[in-house]
Symmetry: C2
Subunit: 353 residues, 2 copies
């Protein structure tokens, strides 16, 4: 078997690769939840060896018990083409994506690493522009670039620039368990990032006004977490779209998710491109969206919190957690029917990330 682009699409083949290859080889309790960030409990007394210490890790170790500093740790490599697109560039994306992966774990993003793999011959000015974008986005997101690395590969062995960012955040929230009746919230229109990238490629010959929704979500998410203690789950629906995230939520669970098609925000222009190219917006990548599962009684309050923020003006309750059919995502269509929304198999689309 050869690795295909579909193995990186975020759909079923990616999922299988992770399960069959990575989970079996890297098996450890941190990886098992398959979330975008690992949650690490830095428990001082079990980590510290018996010799020299620079600092007592905690002032009074005896009182600490099994408690430590819980941090979130995440990584992502960004390979988007083109590297500049309406609404952003690879530098902005690399910071926002990793900040968002920490944020959805309820962790305040603090420190990012930034590693470039540059193709020989890249214009220095391009590198400066991207670096300024990384720097500005980090500043606006409240994170520091703590460490970095630069590699240059021969022309034809890379694609202008790839950026890896890894991130550390400190956990501030513990999610409760999902229950039947919980509501599914979304902070705005889907598919804008993926459509912006696709139409930015000259080869497609499409012109639209759609901009990527690429944005750092921590500020929005921290307001959500301040407003409710009944948040059960959050995830940013990037590769594979909201369909893939919700399938991951229901997989092997004794509940299902029912989506209301008419409530899912999709901009008219996104709908237009989807109709033209035969795409389903549920599978399109987003870079400034968050799916929130919250107890029914707090749903309306959170929709108001979201709508009061510049990144959540079009927020909606898009679905609910249901008892049957368990383990599946169902869509109640506008015309009144229902259909299963499965995980993406193969590639729906040209590769964008």
């Amino acid at each position: 078997m050869k690795i295909s682009l579909a193995h990186g699409s975020g759909g079923k083949l990616t999922h299988n690769l992770i399960k069959e290859l990575f989970l079996t080889n890297f098996l450890n309790p941190l990886l098992k939840p398959l979330t975008d960030s690992a949650i690490i409990n830095l428990i001082p007394q079990t980590l510290v060896s018996d010799y020299q210490m620079t600092d007592k890790v905690c002032g009074n170790q005896e009182t600490v018990g099994t408690k430590g500093t819980k941090i979130a740790f995440t990584t992502d490599s960004y390979t988007v083409t083109p590297i500049f697109f309406p609404g952003g560039d690879i530098g902005k994306l690399a910071v926002c994506g990793t900040v968002n992966d920490l944020s959805v774990m309820g962790a305040k993003p603090l420190y990012l690493s930034c590693s470039y793999v540059i193709e020989e011959g890249l214009d220095y000015e391009t590198l400066v522009k991207i670096t300024k974008s990384v720097s500005e986005t980090a500043k606006n997101s409240g994170v520091q670039i703590a460490t970095g690395d630069t590699k240059v590969v021969e022309k034809g062995k890379g694609d202008k620039i790839f950026i890896n960012t890894s991130g550390i955040g400190i956990c501030e929230y513990e999610f409760k368990e999902i229950q039947i009746g919980d509501k599914i919230l979304l902070n705005g229109g889907i598919g804008e990032h993926e459509i912006a990238i696709l139409t930015a490629r000259e080869s497609l010959g499409l012109e639209t006004e759609i901009k990527s929704d690429c944005a750092s979500l921590w500020n929005l998410i921290s307001q959500v977490l301040k407003s409710s203690r009944e948040v059960k789950f959050m995830r940013d629906p990037t590769r594979g779209g909201i369909a893939t995230v919700l399938n991951e939520v229901t997989e092997n669970k004794d509940f299902g998710i029912l989506l209301y098609e008419e409530k899912i925000p999709v901009k008219e222009e996104v709908k237009g491109v989807c109709a033209l190219l035969g795409f389903d917006p549920l599978y399109l990548a987003n870079e400034g969206k968050v799916i929130i599962v919250v107890a029914s009684e707090d749903a309306d309050k959170l929709v108001n919190v979201l709508r009061g923020h510049s990144l959540g003006k079009d927020a909606q309750v898009i679905g609910e957690v249901v008892k049957t059919p368990a383990g599946k995502v169902y869509l109640k269509t506008k015309v009144g029917g229902t259909r299963i929304v499965d995980m993406l198999i193969g590639e729906q689309l040209p590769r964008i990330c």
Copy 2:
């Protein structure tokens, strides 16, 4: 200006890129020391916001003062060609390299992220072999793969596989300041990694028995740190070799470093290839070596500690810290002369990392 391979060589152009572009844009106190890992002080009470907490970060916050959990954070992207070479492969290298970057900061390596950028068409079996190598090396190094990511790029837009690993360690040692008279130690022969990679390329038509020294150094380093409280500095001389590391140590300082050429361990076969191709072994990359600066009185003790370990059998005192000429690295040659050992300018060699 276009980015050239020399910008990634670890020499002067890399140095300039970091100083002029990255330090000016990402400026913050964590990056300033230009070490391979950032040292982060996770101080609970200043990080934790005033709302919900999953855990009290420390049992008794009032007693903590300004102390926190000091962690080291590092990142590296590995782009080595060929991906399998005598003594290792890109998976082993990606784990050892990042483990070593944490270790030389006196931090016990704990958690690694692992992110693949795979070129479309890679054999699945190759990916399995590399993944097993990552897994095995992580196990042997005592670290867990905490989080990961996979991207696939079109054929011709990558080079089989690039791996980024980022790492977190917990700081266990505080280095003292370098003083005149301190000794420079090295745990064995230089240049083996770079020569192994070069001769593994068929195009060079060279055959040698040299294997990469690629190894995880934490075990060796932890024994060194247990044996002396007078260690001033450690660094793994990878890209740019020991010449570059020592130039970084002396740059803008009021001391210099004198190296004794006859004491620097270089295998005969490495010397042979260097003579043939006109390379200076001082600039060759290593992946299982550590430079240690230690107070003179502990130097012999540490040499014995190193020689008692399988990764330090050929350890030597290779030089000393001198008053003049300050800011420079000098080599006392075998024939009795001295010459300045400058930073690498441009590229001495074909790119190997």
